[in-house]
């Protein structure tokens, strides 16, 4: 039955990354692994950070996204949005400059025609150069949105981002922002959804997507979506909750509050590759008794592909 459900649906994954250490600095990974080492050690298991890091990195060897496309096919995911978080200003062990990272993403776009869109990330502290690169990403690289990672050390409503939002308004592309705690090498003070409020109010024609809205600050994300017409959320990272909540109750919560025109499916590939494949994660969400079980077909379509497709097609903020 799960197979039939999986095959019958049109699915767009609105939140994923290239699985390669070229785009994710080791300091970021090692920070996340430190939390895992603490949790595993607490169970009396002798494990080293080196071993866990090696295990995680074994799943980060897909720079051209060939394995991801195979997993998308198996999971019936028609298209995936690849996000390029810009860690290069804050974390100094990045292998590539952000411009080099953009080039690698463009290569993937060309290699797998029609399977991906890319949202380019920029740390606003790169100033004029960053702004020019972001506009080039839209005009020359074919990217379709802006990715921001506020825990790198800036508020999403910081004035330095306004020129970016003006560009987003002009080119009708959305902004997707990381929400909630992340690798401990970064600053959680900037991870709150309410920090997006001023930007969303001042730029009503720009659509803002709160990433991980069913994982961190769930009620705050719901409030923002309910009261700001141009704010949306994605459920990526829901896999983090499956250990203690196999029924994905938080996902069920965000699709049960009358906001299904604002909720988007996402996986955060490759973060959870040790836990399963894209197909496994699609099955959790679309299972007969899964978190979308009470939605009608139209609502399921909105969550699984139509909401993100609408933002990519029209760009402009349209109350659904």
């Amino acid at each position: 039955m799960e197979d039939q459900e999986c095959n019958a649906l049109d699915i767009v994954d609105c939140h994923a990354h290239i699985a390669s250490e070229e785009h994710t600095p080791m300091s970021f990974v090692e920070g996340s692994v430190a939390n895992m080492v603490a949790a595993v050690s607490a169970q009396g298991v002798p494990v080293t950070a080196k071993k866990l890091t090696a295990l995680f990195m074994s799943k980060m060897q897909d720079p051209l996204c060939d394995a991801l496309v195979a997993e998308m096919d198996e999971a019936n995911i028609r298209k995936t949005i690849l996000l390029v978080p810009d860690f290069t200003y804050t974390l100094k062990d990045c292998r590539l400059t952000i411009e080099e990272s953009y080039h690698k993403h463009r290569e993937v776009l060309h290699r797998h025609t029609g399977r991906f869109e890319v949202f380019g990330g920029i740390d606003p502290r790169w100033g004029k150069d960053g702004l020019e690169l972001f506009e080039r990403s839209l005009l020359d690289f074919g990217f379709r949105g802006l990715k921001l990672y506020p825990p790198c050390g800036y508020s999403p409503s910081d004035r330095s981002l306004f020129p970016y939002y003006e560009l987003c308004a002009y080119h009708h592309v959305p902004v997707l922002l990381h929400m909630g705690p992340t690798s401990p090498v970064l600053d959680f003070n900037f991870a709150s959804p309410f920090l997006v409020d001023e930007a969303a109010r001042l730029f009503p024609s720009v659509n803002f997507i709160l990433a991980h809205g069913a994982v961190s600050f769930v009620e705050e994300c719901i409030m923002m979506c309910r009261f700001r017409p141009n704010v949306y959320l994605d459920i990526s990272g829901f896999q983090a909750t499956l250990g203690y909540d196999p029924a994905a109750t938080a996902v069920k919560r965000v699709v049960s509050v009358g906001l299904n025109h604002k909720v988007m499916f996402g996986t955060d590939f490759p973060v959870f590759r040790l836990q399963g494949t894209q197909r496994d994660f699609v099955e959790v969400v679309t299972a007969e008794a899964g978190p979308l079980a009470d939605l009608n077909d139209r609502e399921k379509s909105l969550v699984l592909h139509q909401n993100i497709a609408r933002l990519l097609e029209t760009g402009v903020s349209v109350a659904a």
């Binding site: 895992m36 169970q43 002798p46 494990v47 250990g243 203690y244 196999p246 836990q275 399963g276 496994d280």
Partner: protein
């Protein structure tokens, strides 16, 4: 390739050692769900893998074996995967 006659019991013992709190009262059988009935989350599963490696003196990553944790739903699934890994390790040792 013959495995230890008590192999399944050893794996069940391993699982039991990683089960916490309220789940300790659950009777472990082949059909017991690792996640829903024994509360083994991703960290619990990871710990189980490391305990397994220690007990049987194997290094799964070094053997080039990929484990899809999402497919390990029941105790029986885990025993099957463990049999496979230990079997391969024995073959590698003897060759």
């Amino acid at each position: 390739m013959e495995l230890d006659a008590n192999f399944d019991e050893r794996i069940m013992g391993l699982i039991a050692s990683g089960v916490a709190g309220k789940f300790k009262k659950v009777k472990i059988t082949g059909g017991t769900s690792l996640q829903k009935e024994l509360g083994l989350d991703s960290i619990g599963m990871l710990s189980l893998v490391f305990r397994f490696e220690e007990l049987f003196e194997v290094d799964i990553a070094q053997m080039g074996i990929e484990i899809n944790v999402a497919k390990l739903k029941t105790v029986e699934d885990l025993i099957g995967a463990a049999r496979d890994i230990v079997g391969k390790a024995q073959v590698a040792k003897e060759s």
